[in-house]
């Protein structure tokens, strides 16, 4: 199979997946014992039969469930995800405001995991059973066993409350004027607005939550990289390279690490899901105004239009990231396409 055919086949499944995601979000948020009318309208408006009827009609609640789903899909196709009960804004606008902060956090955390996890995994494997290996294995074990919200709290206790090295929770110092919303990425918006001075403050606020959020994926990536590297180091071509008298560095980096990275690529995509899960709790600890905070706020107030919106966005992001990862894998490893 050519690369193009592989990408095409994977891309064909995508729309089906996305529709499936909307269906599942719909089922999850409608299989609820609570009454959306009462929750959405509030007691006063729910007492007025005309308002209730209008609301029911608007969301098709007077129709059978399958039809309701089609109405939701129709509205969704027209860029309407409904109005959030808690913010009284269109869900789409809310998502647009909260997504960039989460992307910022998740990307920073992923970068940290790669920068720390990959070298640690490699060193751990080539110096097996050494001190470095013990550290690497401990880091990966502790990383996957760590309650992220607790780690967040502890870093705030130590680095903010005790030592005063880190800024308090939040995206920016409260005394700093937030740059006008253009992209939603604080750093980019600050530069666009000519407020370059707040960039260091923004980065300082990002550091702790990103590090905390990355703890799990650092663990996963270190462990995977170590295991994969150990396997590759036993391969014939590595022995051949050694027999040819190549230097240790060249063997490690050119022959072993490049091949050992392959399975790690898949894990990177999969651990992105863990990253998004972790973002919910990390954001609530660090008062980070992202999708996680929004999801939490809407889930606890039974704000179903918002919950569905978050579910659809997060699941779609996850599916897309994994598609990109799989394609990247197919690019670097032609065997995948052949299978």
């Amino acid at each position: 199979m050519t690369l193009l055919a592989y990408v095409g086949r994977r891309a064909l499944v995508l729309p089906v997946m996305l529709v499936g995601i909307t269906l599942l979000s719909f089922i999850l948020s409608h299989a609820v014992p609570s009454d959306p009318v009462a929750v959405n309208l509030g007691e006063l408006a729910a007492a007025n039969p005309d308002t209730v009827a209008a609301f029911r009609h608007r969301w098709g609640l007077d129709r059978p469930l399958p039809q309701q789903y089609l109405i939701y899909l129709w509205n969704l196709a027209h860029g309407d995800m409904g109005v959030s009960i808690t913010t009284h804004q269109p869900v789409l606008i809310d998502l647009r405001h909260h997504l960039p902060a989460t992307v910022e956090l998740a990307v920073a955390a992923m970068l940290l995991s790669l920068v720390i996890g990959i070298p640690l995994g490699i060193t751990s494997a080539i110096r097996r059973d050494s001190l470095v290996d013990q550290v690497g294995r401990s880091v990966s074990l502790v990383g996957v066993s760590m309650p992220v919200f607790w780690l967040g709290l502890m870093t705030l206790v130590i680095f903010y409350a005790r030592l005063g090295w880190a800024p308090s929770a939040g995206e920016l110092n409260p005394r700093v004027a937030t740059p006008p919303f253009v992209t939603g990425f604080v750093v980019v918006d600050a530069l666009l607005a000519g407020q370059g001075g707040i960039v260091p403050d923004a980065l300082a606020h990002l550091a702790l939550p990103a590090l905390v959020l990355s703890s799990y994926s650092i663990g996963v990536i270190t462990r995977m990289m170590r295991g994969s590297m150990l396997e590759v180091l036993g391969e014939d071509y590595v022995r051949t390279a050694r027999a040819k008298g190549l230097s240790r560095w060249i063997i490690t980096l050119r022959h072993a690490a490049r091949n050992a990275l392959l399975p790690v690529i898949t894990v990177i995509g999969l651990s992105f899901g863990g990253l998004l899960s972790g973002a919910v709790v990390t954001e609530t600890v660090f008062a980070w105004p992202g999708l996680g905070s929004y999801a939490f706020q809407s889930a606890t107030s039974l704000d179903f239009p918002a919950i569905m919106g978050v579910g659809i966005v997060v699941a779609s992001v996850y599916v897309l990231v994994n598609l990109v990862v799989d394609v990247a894998y197919a690019v670097v490893d032609p065997r995948i396409r052949m299978g």
Partner: protein, 293 residues
């Protein structure tokens, strides 16, 4: 032509009981982890005997006390003893973690086996549904479900079960497919055993050990997820001693009372870490490729 095929019973002891002693006598780390898990289980069982105070007993005069000889782990804003509440927390977290994983494994194994045995369109539908479920990050899915059902221990368990069964279904289906190809299964089929008997007697017995091992690997993770849900306010009500909600309570006191959130977190970390080491050791023992290296 009458052909008698005698299906020999498996001569060896089941995989799990054969491996268990070897895993823990060989690795000091695994043995240490097993000891910690056992200790936590003992703490959970003997909580009323071990805890110095009642889990709900308040001593307003001694509120927000730092760790002292009277209160080893300090007290919370209502003057409740944190050591006591951490000890009682084990009584909740361990059974909840086990129950959530057991239910998810049961449901997933059932659905995955149906997919593996039925094949065809049924299998296709089931596997695509699990793909979809897996597209939702666990905590977000569990959060949506437990928010929809309402906060509480039972609903948190249900939420974790619904969020996790798909990975078990996948795993079980893979195992069933592999087991179907084994000679003894083919032999049983050739001998005329019914599909039900082949499944119960030959396939199910083969796939159960790996599923049990995957489950032990997941209990630590389930305890973490339950604590996360609790931390988000989707677990039991705040007066119930639960590690995640105790940490949430510590959030408002980070600059005056570090001990409120610190000790419950250490409890979660130590238990999850030990469970992960135990699970890892079991998995390594099962995977011959890893064992060799």
């Amino acid at each position: 032509m009458a052909l008698t095929v005698q299906v020999l019973p498996t001569p060896r002891r089941p995989l799990l009981s054969r491996l268990l002693p070897r895993v823990f006598t060989r690795s000091p780390l695994a043995l240490g982890a097993l000891t910690i898990v056992t200790l936590w289980a003992a703490v959970a069982l003997a909580a009323p005997l071990l805890a110095p105070y009642g889990p709900l007993a308040q001593d307003i005069g001694d509120r927000l006390s730092p760790p002292t000889s009277a209160h080893w782990f300090g007290t919370d804003p209502l003057g409740r003893d944190i050591l006591t509440r951490v000890v009682y927390g084990a009584r909740l977290s361990i059974p909840v973690g086990i129950a959530a994983v057991a239910l998810a494994a049961l449901l997933g194994t059932l659905i995955g086996s149906v997919a593996g045995v039925a094949a065809g369109i049924v299998e296709e539908v089931i596997m695509r549904a699990t793909d979809l479920m897996l597209a939702f990050p666990t905590v977000i899915l569990a959060m949506i479900i437990s928010a929809a059902l309402g906060a509480g221990i039972r609903n948190a368990v249900i939420a974790i079960m619904i969020a996790w069964w798909p990975s078990y279904a996948r795993f079980a289906r893979g195992l069933v497919l592999a087991a179907r190809e084994r000679e003894y299964v083919e032999a049983a089929r050739a001998a005329g055993a019914s599909a039900g008997r082949v499944f119960m007697r030959h396939i199910l017995t083969t796939i159960i050990s790996p599923i049990v091992i995957l489950s032990t690997l997941d209990v630590g993770h389930a305890i973490l997820t339950f604590a996360s849900l609790s931390f988000l306010g989707l677990g039991p009500p705040p007066q119930i001693p639960e590690w995640g909600s105790m940490i949430a309570a510590g959030r408002d006191y980070i600059d005056q009372a570090w001990w409120i959130g610190t000790f419950p977190g250490l409890a979660i970390l130590s238990l999850a870490l030990a469970l992960n080491v135990v699970g890892d050791s079991l998995r390594d023992a099962l995977d011959p490729r890893l064992r060799k290296s």
